[in-house]
Every structure is written in C-alpha cells, then in structure tokens.
Symmetry: C2
Subunit: 436 residues, 2 copies
C-alpha cells in the first residue's frame, strides 16, 4: 500500500518532512462572516434563532426550544438500553479516568513570609462548563467521558453537553456515556449556534464559563470568536501519532497501531520512525497484508498515502530529535527502556511507553485524557485535565509591619512609573516611627 518513505540522510529530508507534516487551520473569511452572523442572531434573538438554525442545519422540525433539552432521566434510559458489555466497559473506563484525573486536582496553598504576611493562591472550580460533542460519524462516547469527567472531578457546579442530532437521530451510547459521566443536561444543538448559545446564554441554554470539545470548522471559528466572553480549550487539528520503534516489536502490532490513527479520517497522520531499515520493510509488508481486513480500509489507504510515512533514522537519538521537532499528539515509544527514553521528550501530548502500550488503550480506558494538543501545539499546551476546569485567585494579606516594608519598595517604583496614587495608597500604610 502507498505511503511516504523518507530517510534522515536524504538531502531534502527536512523539507519533505516539513511539507508532510504542515497543517494550518483554514480560516475562511466567508466562514468567519457566517459564524459572526450566527453568533449575533443567537445573542439577540436567543432560543428563537437557536431553533431556526437547528431546524435548518440539522433537518429537524422543532417547535419550541424546550424540545431540545434531555434531562437526566433520558440519559439513564439510554444507559439501560445499551448492551450490557458496552455499559460495563463504559463504567470501567470511567472509573479509571476518574481515578487518574483525581490526582490532577490542584489544591489551594499559602505561606507566611517573615513579616507574617499571608501569600498564596485559592483554587476554585468553574461554576458551569459546556462540552461540545460532534454528532454523526464522529460521535464518540469515549469523548464524552474524556471531556466531562475532568470537569466533574474539578467540582464544576453544572456540566452541560451540547451535541447535534441530525434528522433527530441520537446516539444511545453517547447518551449513556453522559449518564455514566454525570453530565447534568444534554441539549441537542450543534454548530456555531450551539457555541453562541453556551457563550451568551438563551432562555433554554444556560451561559457557561468555558466551552471545551472538538468540532468542525464552524465550531472552531465560533470558539475563536467567543473566546474572552468565555474560556475555550485548544482548537484541534487532525489527530496524529508518531511511533518510534527499535525494530524489535512485532511488525503487525506496529502496522495496526499506525492504522488505529489513520482510520480516524482522511487527514489523520500516522508516522513510524526507526533506525532499522529491514524493520520498516517488514512493517510495510504487514500494512499491505492487513489493510484489506479493515472496516475503514478506504480511509486508512487515503490517510496513509497522503499523510503517512515510514522514516529511516540514523539511530535512536536521532529519532528523539524528530520527536521534539514534531511535538506529536500521540507518541509511542515501542522500544526497550522506554521510560528512560521518555525523559528526553520535551514535547508530546501523550507518551505511550513500551511495546505493550498501544495508543488505543489510552484512547479509551488507561486513565489519561485522550483530548490532546495536535499540530505541534504540545510545544505550549497540555492534555485536557482537571486543571482546565479550575482557576486560581491570588491571596495577599499584609500584616501592618509587612505592609510598611512592602510600601517602601512599592513607592519608588510607582513614582518611577508616574503613578502617584499608587505610591500614596502604599505610603498610607507605612508605619510612623513612635514619637520621641
């Protein structure tokens, strides 16, 4: 089957790798204009606009916005309906994700300096969070768990999930996952209109403090436009994996690990890098043999042909240079001493250590979040976590002696900035020497 073959020794390697991994979100001016119209309409006309857009874009026939809301009983009914094996798997996955994320919770902290002045940070959860879950073929129950559970572990007061129901069709497993995750309500709206409703609130959709979750180009643009009014998570690009292998893992395993990324969609990116040329050939042979057995064969062939690659490196150290250059969303270190090699990784969304840790386990149930920074944004961002649903307030409580000392530092700095009121506000707190 077709995929790119590169070697780091080639003269044009850098350019070829850059071209292969280039990705920039298309910010279409027309999309931006349409999204800003939708946001304005929902902001001004609330539920009325929300119902209009939902009927038009999702081919529905809703009369009143209240029909869009699914309460906890509807979610519980879906949970009761799905196959027992799926229910158990969802519950086990949720339990592990909850356990892992509980270790991410940030706690308030404080200390007193030598003057007795209190310094610290008070950590609090968001009041209300909104989760966007795509509808249709990208409606993944695992994404419901991964987005909702960190919010619940953080102690968010209310978790509202929005997801479109094209033609009125809902995915039972998604609703069941919402029940397992403790989502407070589900509203069956999507697109820019759902983001607008969450940001500004309507009679039916409560205004939230932060919106997380992936979506199409309209959803991404809407999130960008409402940023500031509410918080948002990162804008996600196509999913990617970089597998580093020393050549000693079963090539069928590696081929299937690459396919598990490639099957997401035509733009997904799966790259293998190894210092073992024979091994790359073996993986290529495994891929050719295994691809016809896949349900999503066409998608896998397209993404491997367009964006996949098998890369020959000089040695494992050079593999790690590529890792830090690509800052991959998923990094599989299928090699001996993976834990030691991981210490050389500066940028990656998630690191899968050793031959027995395929990405698929992390996608569902290992515990860590599967919402990860894509397109090299691991250079500056982190997996979705409990910390995304908490925020901090600085605490400063001066004793009179502490205030007096700090005021004598602040005053000349304020005056050097010509901020006299700052200086005098500080100077009021300077203690007078006792009269003789």
């Amino acid at each position: 089957m077709k995929t790119h073959r590169l070697a780091t020794t080639e003269a044009d390697f850098d350019a070829r790798l850059a071209a292969l991994t280039a990705w920039s979100e298309e910010r279409d001016a027309e999309v931006a204009t349409r999204v800003s119209e939708i946001i304005r309409a929902v902001r001004e006309r609330g539920d009325e606009a929300l119902v209009e857009y939902t009927n038009r874009f999702d081919r529905r026939n809703v009369q009143h916005a209240s029909e869009l809301v699914l309460g906890k009983e509807v979610l519980q009914a879906a949970l009761a309906r799905i196959p027992q094996a799926h229910r158990e798997a969802l519950e086990m996955a949720a339990e592990r994700v909850r356990e892992y994320h509980s270790r991410q919770r940030q706690e308030s902290w404080q200390y007193h300096d030598e003057d007795g002045t209190l310094l610290g940070q008070q950590v609090t959860p968001l009041d209300r969070a909104g989760l966007y879950v795509p509808g249709g073929k990208a409606a993944y129950p695992s994404s419901v768990l991964m987005n909702a559970l960190p919010a619940k572990v953080a102690g968010v007061g209310e978790v509202v999930l929005v997801s479109p129901a094209p033609d009125g069709v809902l995915n039972d497993t998604v609703l069941a996952a919402a029940a397992v995750a403790g989502v407070d309500r589900v509203i069956t709206v999507g697109g820019a209109q759902a983001v607008a409703a969450l940001a500004w609130g309507t009679d039916t959709v409560p205004a939230v403090d932060k919106i997380v979750g992936p979506g199409n180009i309209y959803v991404a643009e809407a999130k960008r436009q409402v940023f500031g009014k509410v918080g948002i998570d990162m804008i996600a690009g196509p999913s990617e994996i970089l597998v580093v292998c020393d050549g000693k893992t079963d090539p069928d395993w590696i081929a299937m690990d690459l396919f598990s990324q490639a099957e997401h969609d035509e733009e997904a990116q799966a790259i293998l890098v190894s210092p073992d040329a024979d091994f790359l050939d073996q993986v290529a042979a495994s891929m050719a043999r295994l691809v016809p057995t896949l349900e999503r064969e066409d998608i896998v062939r397209t993404s491997m042909a367009n964006r996949g690659a098998l890369i020959l490196a000089r040695d494992l150290d050079e593999c790690m240079v590529l890792v830090n250059r690509l800052a991959p969303e998923h990094l599989e270190l299928s090699m001996d001493d993976a834990e030691q090699w991981a210490k050389k990784v500066r940028h990656a969304g998630a690191i899968f250590l050793g031959r027995h840790t395929p990405e698929a386990l992390g996608d569902y149930c290992a515990g860590p979040n599967h919402v990860l920074p894509t397109s090299a944004t691991a250079r500056f961002s982190s997996p979705l976590g409990v910390y995304d649903f908490q925020k901090r307030s600085s605490l400063i409580g001066c004793t009179p002696a502490g205030a007096s000392r700090l005021a004598s530092i602040a005053s000349p700095l304020a005056r050097s900035e010509s901020l006299t009121a700052h200086a005098r506000s500080a100077e009021y707190r300077i203690l007078k020497a006792p009269e003789a």
Copy 2:
C-alpha cells in the same frame, strides 16, 4: 467629584450595575483586516516587512533589522544608569516575585496501578517565550518583572522581550527591569508586526512557543489571529478594582486605593461597595479633597465619572454576592476577618486581605503576579503564573498483564465506535491463555 452612586435596594440596581460594568472588546473588522495583512507580510517577507512597519508606525529610521536587537550588555548598562533607589526596589521586588512564583512550579508525577502499569504526567517548560511590553506611557518596568519572572522560574530556555521604541526612545527602567529579570534579548518592535514576528519567526526575531503580555487593540487582535500557531495568554480589558469595606478603614485610604486603579487610564474601573451609607459619604468627601493633589487628576476624574461607583449594600453577605457576580480583577477586602470572608469568594483575580493590603503593594512587590484576568474572566482564568510556561505530557506504560486487562475494556468500546483498527491494535496485546 463625580462618580456613580448606587444602592442594591433600588429597583433598577441590576440593570444599572450591568450597564456600568459592561465592557466588550471592540473587534473592529477593519482592524482585523489590517492585522491579517501585517501578519501575512511579516510571514512572507520577514525582517524586510518588520523594518518597514517599524519605521512607519514608530517613526524610526532603521536600515537593517539587526539594529532592532538589544543584547544583554545594553540591558546591563541601563541597570547601571538608573537611580540606585530604583535599582534596589527592582531587585527587592524581583526577589519576592521569584520566591512566590517558585511555589507555583508544577512537578512531574506518576503512580503504578495494581497491574504495575505506570500512569502520570511529565511536566516540561516551554522552549521559548515572547513577552510583549507596551511602549510609551504604558511602559511599566513592573510588568517586565511580572511577565518575565514566571517564565524564568518555569525554566523556559529563552525569554525574548519585544517593546516598541517610538521615535527611537527607550525607557531605561524597562531595560533595567529586563536585566534584573534575566531576559535573554530585547527587540525594539511593537504592534501586530511584533506579534507576527514572534509567532512565525524572521531572520532576526526567533519564533517563540507562546506570547504573553498586554497591548493595544492591534496587539490583541494579532494575538487572537496567531493563536494556535503559538500559545497566548488572555486578552486583557481595562483594569478594575472592587473594594469591599465594612466602614472601619480610614476613608482617605480607601479613596486613594480607588484612585490607584482609576489613574491607569480613562477606562479603568474603581468600585467601592459597603453596607455603611455614612462611610460612603466620607469616602466621597475624601475623594473630593484628595483628587486635586494627584498628578493624573484628569484621568482619575474621567474614569471615576464614567466607570467608578460607590455602592450601598444591605450587609456584608450581599457585598460578597456582588463580588462573585462581578468576578473582579482586583478585590480588596478592607474589613475584619478578611481571610474568613475570602473563602466565600468564588471568582477574583487577586484578593487583597485586610486594611493594610492595598492593591498597589500587589502591583509591585508583594510577590503574586499583577497580570490578572479582567472583565469577569476570573470566572474561568487565573493570574499569569509559572504554570503558563509549563506544559504536560501524559505518561502511560502498560505491563503485559495491565495491557491485557485494558485491551479487554478498550476492544468493545472501540467496536461500538466502529473503530476496528483501534480494537485490533488493543487485542494484539491480550495475553493468550497458556496451552493446556
């Protein structure tokens, strides 16, 4: 002097408060277009475009981009030139800010589950950060410390500061602060062109991973447009303070605390809320008496008249309801038992506890950061901190037994999502029962 007077018992109180505190960033379509042209030009023509814009907007006569770069020796020379008192104040402030922020550093963590599977997060600093420092009247040396020190404490590899030098004029104290904070290089460019250069890199300006710091409407729009290519901090609105006072603090102190916020600029917002009507009158009298003594009297009069307010509440509990509704950037609790009352605060950028803790101390030297979420964004965001310059990679390392168990959970979930390659990648790791 003129300011708003409100009481929570008034029928139209909610509407008046909402109107008074309303602020939405003007996203001018023309500004957006000009900024996107500037970004494209810098991205395509690099230093050449950067020099052109700098000469045009900052009225300079630069021939080559290398003239824009100030190395460490220039910063050290500025530090040697400024008054000794300013230098000492900068160094003492830096020491306290460094000490406080060192307690924010996040550490890597891991644990093993009952199968021996390793789970955790590896925390790493950004490779390179860009700090935007406004030029002209808003060039604050304290802002250099507050933006650069968290990055240095995080262990960021290189900290690059950009700041415009209109007419070629530089602020010595700003350069001195950069020296004290350990900034690696200063580049005298500003505006959208500076943001574009930091995001995409030019021959002279290195591409960074994240851009932080406040700026005008062009800088804010540019940050919004490059978000995704690089990380950004929040988009800042006008600065605000909410003072809650039980009526027992010297009214002159409270008046000056309000002024210290109001003097920032005409859009700054200073609000006092108290259950003591007489005290509000005393503060009003103090304000009228003190305002003529201020260097920035005109600015203070304008901002107090347009956006300031003295609010009468029923009791202190109602004051706290207003606090959480307004989610202020700065909150001063000038009252008894401030530490206990602070526990009722759900949303605030920084909380100043007690009568001896004016905001001005926090602005310069108490230790906590003065870059804080404005315009009610404290509902979902935090003070700038070390955590903004660190990121996390998830760690998952399965033992064969652990992988086998997780694969049996992942497999049915993957199949329920029609992701067969995910399921099979997991199933390869299921251990076969030993042959009988």
